[in-house]
């Protein structure tokens, strides 16, 4: 991919926009179609695009594999942790009124934001980790045969 100048320039411009769009979709999941899964996939696509056009080594400098593996587990922990926090404050598991006992409606909003954030983090981590696993293998078909 050393020769494709247009691809490299366009990718450098696009990756920032894609990450911004992913964050927009994540936090506007309450008001428009979106939410955790879609945002996670879009964020992962930004890193995968960078990894395809530049090399795998470069994207692993920005987003190292050990960080990806930690993120995969962190998302599930955030989700389950919200439930456990509700348990510890005396409500049922995953009862969002524990997050704001005086105004249950605001508690629901906070709970949904937290939970969707956990989901988004896990989905990003899993997609990027799967891509790293596939791309780290020696390809059987060389670049010129395509």
């Amino acid at each position: 991919m050393r020769h494709h100048l247009i691809l490299r320039v366009v990718t450098k411009l696009l990756v920032g926009t894609i990450i911004l769009f992913a964050l927009y979709v994540q936090f506007h999941g309450d008001y428009s179609p979106g939410g955790g899964f879609q945002a996670g996939v879009i964020m992962a696509v930004a890193f995968i695009l960078y990894g395809i056009v530049f090399s795998l080594a470069k994207v692993q400098q920005v987003f190292p594999p050990w960080l990806v593996h930690k993120l995969v587990a962190l998302g599930v922990l955030i989700y389950a942790g919200t439930g456990v926090y509700s348990l510890l404050t005396g409500y049922n598991y995953l009862d969002y009124t524990a997050l704001n006992p005086s105004y249950p409606e605001y508690g629901q909003e906070r709970g949904i934001l937290l939970v969707e954030f956990g989901v988004g983090v896990t989905v990003t981590g899993v997609m990027v980790a799967v891509y790293y696993a596939f791309a780290a293998r020696t390809p059987v078909i060389s670049d010129e045969e395509w």
């Binding site: 008001y31 179609p33 899964f37 989905v123 899993v126 799967v130 293998r137």
Partner: protein, 145 residues
């Protein structure tokens, strides 16, 4: 049974039949083709058509997407489509991508172990291994007897 096939009935059920045709095409690809990647694509087609069948059950004529206006002033005359199938299918799509990625990883490992991803080729290699093992096993039993 065929008295009830009025025009209204046919138009009302056309979507189900269309999605059944798509499902059967996907199923045919899974059953009839030998290449593992192609089987996976067929499975994907089958999956997506099942999703669309399910969601078409939840649509109401004259309805709109189940999202209220931002200021939450809900017009009581507006009909919303049923959001429950959407929730179920969202989960199903994500589970589908999880199984697809696992299947692709398995295909890569199979290629490394057997050097082919055609079903016929894999069965051939497996049966050759079985014959070899039976022969060795038979010789061991015969030798001891």
């Amino acid at each position: 049974m065929f008295q009830e096939f009025t025009w209204e009935f046919i138009v009302g059920h056309m979507n189900y039949w269309l999605f059944i045709v798509l499902m059967m095409t996907g199923l045919y690809v899974v059953v009839a083709r030998g290449n593992l990647v192609k089987k996976l694509v067929g499975l994907n087609i089958f999956q997506v058509s099942v999703f669309m069948l399910y969601i078409s059950v939840g649509k109401v004529t004259g309805g709109t997407a189940p999202i209220f206006p931002t200021d939450m002033k809900i017009d009581p005359d507006v009909i919303y489509s049923n959001p429950l199938p959407h929730v179920l299918i969202l989960t199903a799509i994500v589970v589908g991508i999880a199984t697809t990625s696992l299947a692709l990883a398995l295909i890569v490992r199979i290629r490394e172990a057997y050097d082919t991803i055609e079903e016929a080729g894999i069965l051939e290699i497996e049966s050759a291994i079985c014959r070899e093992e039976n022969r060795i096993h038979g010789e061991a039993m015969g030798g001891r007897g």
